[in-house]
């Protein structure tokens, strides 16, 4: 009896998950439809909405992204130097930091910050609009909620995530460079020079590609959780938490998959 229920439960959850992925995909397709076709059918995605999202998702996240990335750079320099000292290869810390920051950690930290900051905010905002019937109000006014709410978020993510990632990369390299400079008596200029020696465009691009994917993931997870809010304040809290947890989990897993394909 219990085994049967257990298997049933697995089946239900699987169907739910597939349904959710399908819903994410339809949100994405619809958003692109409105972004590309909207202006021609007199239903454009409003620039005003896009700018306000860019402000919230991107500009306001800059300080915390830079702070965390800078700390991460310093941290990697500390660990790198300690580890490499065992092989008398401290000077190799520069390519170590340069590669891992541009390929992995810059974008990862950016994505986690954006998921925590904007993902939760988006889910909460759309969720409370759902609860107060504002979404219904949009619909009966003849305004597609996806065009009005989701498309600007997707677009802003696509623009702001790469920009934030480049900032994060720079902050981390400067952090790593400063610490290395103090410990190994290497000037920041030399550090940056050596970074540019080892890095190729592809390393940086690898991070930027990922940032696009992560941005879209965050937006879709947050929006779909927001739209699915039901059951009052408790439901809203659940949806907000769920959107952060799921988007961070998806980011890390997607990162692993992409790294496998991009880095070998």
């Amino acid at each position: 009896m219990n085994t049967r229920k257990f298997i049933e439960r697995i089946g239900e959850k699987t169907i739910d998950a597939i349904e959710e992925v399908g819903y994410h995909f339809s949100l994405l397709v619809e958003s692109f439809y409105w972004l590309l076709v909207g202006p021609f059918v007199k239903q454009p995605v409003r620039l005003r909405n896009i700018f306000s999202e860019m402000m919230k998702i991107g500009v306001l996240a800059i300080p915390v992204v830079i702070l965390l990335s800078f700390s991460n750079g310093v941290m990697m320099a500390i660990q790198g130097i300690v580890t490499l000292q065992e092989f008398d290869a401290e000077s190799q810390v520069v390519p170590g930091i340069a590669y891992s920051v541009t390929r992995e950690f810059g974008v990862l930290i950016t994505a986690i910050v954006v998921a925590g900051r904007s993902g939760s905010a988006i889910a909460a905002r759309i969720g409370s609009m759902q609860m107060s019937q504002e979404i219904d109000a949009l619909r009966v006014m003849g305004i597609e909620p996806v065009r009005h709410l989701v498309a600007p978020i997707i677009f802003s993510m696509l623009v702001m995530m790469p920009i934030l990632t480049i900032m994060a990369d720079s902050a981390a390299l400067i952090g790593g460079g400063l610490y290395t400079g103090i410990v190994l008596k290497l000037s920041l200029g030399t550090f940056i020079d050596r970074c540019f020696d080892v890095l190729v465009v592809y390393d940086v691009m690898q991070g930027l590609y990922k940032s696009l994917i992560f941005g879209v993931l965050i937006a879709l997870v947050a929006c779909s959780n927001g739209f699915s809010v039901s059951g009052g304040a408790e439901g809203l809290g659940k949806a907000t938490t769920r959107s952060v947890v799921i988007s961070i989990a998806m980011i890390v897993m997607a990162d692993m998959i992409f790294t496998y394909f991009l880095s070998r």
């Binding site: 109000a137 006014m141 003849g142």
Partner: protein, 274 residues
């Protein structure tokens, strides 16, 4: 427009035919038929759980019927393309139960919102039109307040101003008097009547307030457990000898006849070891 000529030909703005709908496996509406004529005030009444809000959502084309059909201005919304549906929706205005004002916009921006989205009027015209509608609902001078700063009655009036800003020919009210004191709610009733006379608009009101319903209605539809109990003018409903209608009008709760065996069965249902 083609839609216009069809609706004048047929007189009925909304045509609900044998509507059936489910929530999960629970039947919410069962064979509901309703024609709303042009220019009338139709009040949909019923207790909570009677399906009146669901019927409203169907008439707003927010829900899809499981069986039966709905026609708005002679068109079936489920068979329309998105732009056609948008065109029909621009002829409808809705005042939601709790207003559903956009919390991030102030009162004037809320009222101006449909104009900004659907028209290419210049900024000044839009603001003047928004203020005209705020005058209609007696909210002049409150343009710059945010929805959170308004009282319950003001929220409803602002929502009404937003609902009528596109000069709709069909107007919906969901529980207009819910959460309002009797005086404010009577004011709102007067406003609804005044709008109908001034704008020649067809109005559908969903409410459970008897006084309000009798005051404004041309015809009343009473729903009970998803079925139409009665559909008629105020006098017809008042003089109906249907027991359930009278119970509703006299605010009497339903007599529940208890069968001891069934009662025991319900209590012990799905308990182990019995």
């Amino acid at each position: 427009m083609v839609v216009e000529s069809e609706s004048t030909k047929d007189e009925s703005v909304i045509d609900v035919q044998d509507l059936v709908t489910y929530y999960g496996t629970r039947k919410i509406l069962d064979q509901v038929n309703l024609k709303v004529r042009s220019g009338e005030i139709m009040v949909i009444m019923g207790g909570s759980g009677s399906g009146k809000s669901t019927l409203l959502r169907h008439m707003l084309a927010l829900n899809q019927p499981a069986a039966g059909a709905i026609r708005l201005f002679g068109k079936d919304p489920s068979k329309l393309s998105a732009p056609q549906l948008h065109a029909i929706r621009q002829r409808m205005g809705v005042s939601f139960q709790n207003g559903a004002l956009f919390n991030s916009l102030n009162v004037e921006e809320n009222v101006a919102f449909p104009l900004r989205e659907h028209t290419r009027l210049d900024e000044n015209t839009i603001r003047i039109m928004a203020r005209m509608k705020l005058e209609v609902v007696n909210l002049a001078g409150f343009e710059k307040l945010m929805p959170s700063q308004l009282s319950g009655g003001m929220v409803k009036r602002a929502a009404l101003a937003r609902a009528i800003v596109m000069d709709p020919s069909l107007l919906f009210f969901d529980e207009p008097s819910a959460g309002l004191d009797p005086v404010v709610s009577a004011d709102l009733d007067e406003l609804i009547l005044r709008l109908r006379d001034a704008m020649k608009v067809t109005i559908v009101v969903v409410t459970h307030e008897l006084d309000s319903a009798f005051r404004i209605a041309d015809r009343i539809l009473v729903l009970d457990k998803g079925k139409v109990l009665i559909l008629g003018t105020v006098d017809e409903v008042k003089s109906s000898d249907n027991k359930r209608v009278q119970n509703l009008l006299n605010r009497k709760s339903e007599d529940v006849i208890v069968n001891p065996d069934e009662y025991l069965q319900r209590l012990t249902d799905d308990l182990a070891g019995l």
